[in-house]
Amino acid sequence: MLLKLANLCYDYPNTKGLVDLNLSINAGEFICLMGPNGSGKSTLLRILSGLATPNRGQYWFHDQLITAAYLADAQHRQRLHQQIGMVFQNTDVQLFNTSVAEEVAFGPRQLGLSAAAVEQRVTDCLALTACTTLRDRVPYQLSGGEKKRVALASVLALNPDVLLLDEPLNGLTIAAQQQMLTLLQRLRAAGKTIIMASHNFQQVQAVGQRFIIFNSAHQIAADVSADDLHRQPERQAQLMTL
C-alpha cells in the first residue's frame, strides 16, 4: 500500500476543510478527485504532499506516519517531497526562476546531477509537455495555459513516484488536455501513481481508474472504480455535473 488515511480531519481557522476521511491508495493507481467547489479536493492534495498536516486522524505514507513532528525534520521533509510531486491549482506560486529552462533545471540540479544529465532532463521534459519553444521565456510572463504546462514539466524533471495534480487541465486547449492525459497515462504505465483533481469528467473518464467523489460537507461521498462506474449510469450522470 502506498498511502493510507484514517479518520482524517482538517480544519481551517474558521471553516472545515476535510471531515473524517478514510482512504487507501496503492502504488500505480490513477485516481481522479471530483466534487463541488470548496469540497476539499485541494485540501486533500495539500495534506498528501505534506504541505499541511491533519488536525485529527492519521496519514501514512509508505507505512510512515506523517505528522508535523516528523516533517519538522528537514531531511524527512525532503525525502517526502522527492517522492511526491505536486502541481498547484494556482501555478503562479510554483514558478520562481528567471527562465523556463532554469525552472525545469532547478530540481535536477539540486539533486546533484551532472550538467549533461540536467540538460537532458530539461530537454526531455520540455518536449513531453510541448514547451520547447518557451525555453528561454520568463516563467511569470507566460500565458495561463503555458504556465500550467511549464509547472508540470518542472515537477516531472524530478521524476517523483507520486504525482499530485490540482486541476491540471484548466486553461489548456482541448487538444493540449488530450496530450496531457496521454502523457499521464504513459506515466502511469511506467509505474507512477497519479492523483488528480478535476471538474472535467468527460475528459478524465477515459483515463481514470478510480473516482473519489467529495460532497459539499467535505466528506468522501463515494469511491468507485472505473469498472463499477460503467454499471452505474446515475453515478455517471452525477459526475457529469461536478
Binding site: P13, A72, R77
Partner: protein
C-alpha cells in the same frame, strides 16, 4: 532616509558596520532558533525583505498632491518579529545598495543601523508596551512615529557630525558639508511633519487588515526566556556607538579634542561665518587646496592626453548602433 555614499567618512561607515555586527550576530542566532521551531521562518525572511522593498518603492499620497513612501520597519517587526525584521531589512538595504542604487555601498552600515536596527526595535518596543496595556494600535502608531523619527534623528546626527570629524586643514568639509545645525533639522522636520505620519497611517491600516483577517499570522512573542543579557548588550552598544564614532575618527581628523569642542559650540551657535558668503565665488580655491599641483608637468600632459582619447572613444562607442543585447 537612505544615506548615499560620500556623505559619511569611511571611518564613520566602518564604525557603524562594527556597531551593527553584534546586532546581526544576535539576529542570526535568534532567527536560527526560530527556524528550528517553524520552518517557514526561513522563506518568510526573504519574503519580508521583498515586502519591505515593495513598501519602500510604493508611493503613498500626501495632501498637496505629492507623494512619500513608508519604510515599514515597525510594521515588519510587529508582523514577523523584531529580529527577523532586522535581518529582512538588512537584506533589503543590501539589495537596494548593490543592485538598485538606493543608499550607499560604504554607507550600508549606517543605513542598516538607522533603518534595520533603530526603527524596528524602537517601534517594536513601543508596540509591546501598548500591547501590555491592551492598546495594540496605539502602541503601533506611537512606535511607528517614534521609530522613524528616531532613525531620522540619528541619520541627521551622523551626517551633521561629518564637517566636524573630517575636514581639510582650513576647515573645508570632506564629506557631508552640512553641520548639525542644518542636517538634524532638515532630517527631523521632514519626518516629524510628513514621513512620520505617512508611516503611522500605513502601518496602522496594514496592521488593522491583518488583525481582522488573520490574527494568527501576527508574530507571537516567544515565551520569556533569558533574553535579558542580549538586551543590555545591545542597549549598551547603541549608546556607545556614537562615542565610538567620534573616537575612531580622531585618527582621521587632525584636530585636538579642544578644537572639536570649540567647533561643536560654533556649529550649534552658528557663529561660524560661512566661507562662501565671505568670499563669494572662489574657483581657485579648488586647486589651491586639493592641489593638482605637485604633479610633474609631464604627468599632467599624459593624463590629459589619455582623457581626451578615452572621451573620444567613449563618444564613438555611445553613438554606435546597438546591435546585440537589449532590444
Amino acid at each position: 532616509m537612505h544615506i548615499p555614499d560620500n556623505y559619511l567618512s569611511p571611518a564613520t561607515c566602518g564604525t557603524l558596520v562594527a556597531a551593527m555586527a553584534p546586532v546581526w550576530t544576535v539576529s542570526v542566532l535568534k532567527v536560527k532558533a526560530q527556524v528550528k521551531k517553524r520552518h517557514e521562518t526561513l522563506p518568510m525572511l526573504g519574503i519580508a525583505a521583498s515586502l519591505a522593498f515593495l513598501i519602500m518603492m510604493f508611493n503613498l499620497p500626501i495632501p498637496g498632491g505629492t507623494t512619500a513612501h513608508a519604510v515599514g520597519g515597525t510594521l515588519l517587526a510587529v508582523l514577523i518579529g523584531p529580529w527577523a525584521a532586522c535581518l529582512a531589512l538588512t537584506v533589503t538595504l543590501l539589495l537596494q545598495a548593490l543592485l538598485f542604487g538606493d543608499g550607499g555601498i560604504l554607507a550600508f552600515g549606517a543605513n542598516a543601523f538607522n533603518m534595520a536596527f533603530i526603527m524596528p526595535f524602537v517601534g517594536y518596543a513601543c508596540y509591546r508596551i501598548g500591547h501590555h496595556y491592551h492598546h495594540d494600535k496605539l502602541g503601533l502608531a506611537v512606535g511607528a512615529y517614534l521609530g522613524i523619527n528616531l532613525a531620522a534623528l540619528v541619520a541627521g546626527i551622523e551626517l551633521g557630525l561629518q564637517p566636524l570629524l573630517a575636514h581639510t586643514a582650513n576647515g573645508t568639509p570632506l564629506y557631508c558639508p552640512y553641520g548639525l545645525n542644518v542636517a538634524v533639522p532638515a532630517m527631523l522636520l521632514a519626518h516629524l511633519l510628513v514621513a512620520g505620519w505617512v508611516e503611522v497611517l500605513f502601518s496602522l491600516f496594514v496592521f488593522q487588515f491583518v488583525q481582522k483577517v488573520a490574527p494568527t499570522n501576527l508574530y507571537q512573542t516567544p515565551v520569556k526566556t533569558h533574553q535579558r543579557p542580549w538586551v543590555y548588550l545591545l542597549a549598551g552598544l547603541a549608546v556607545l556607538s556614537p562615542l565610538g564614532l567620534l573616537a575612531s575618527n580622531t585618527a582621521w581628523g587632525e584636530w585636538s579634542p579642544q578644537e572639536l569642542k570649540q567647533q561643536l559650540v560654533q556649529q550649534h551657535l552658528g557663529t561660524h561665518v560661512p566661507q562662501g558668503m565671505q568670499h563669494g565665488f572662489q574657483f581657485d580655491a579648488l586647486f589651491s587646496d586639493y592641489a593638482i599641483g605637485g604633479l610633474p608637468v609631464s604627468v599632467g600632459y599624459v593624463l590629459s592626453a589619455a582623457t581626451a582619447l578615452i572621451i573620444f572613444l567613449l563618444l564613438i562607442r555611445g553613438l554606435q548602433r546597438g546591435t546585440d543585447t537589449t532590444k
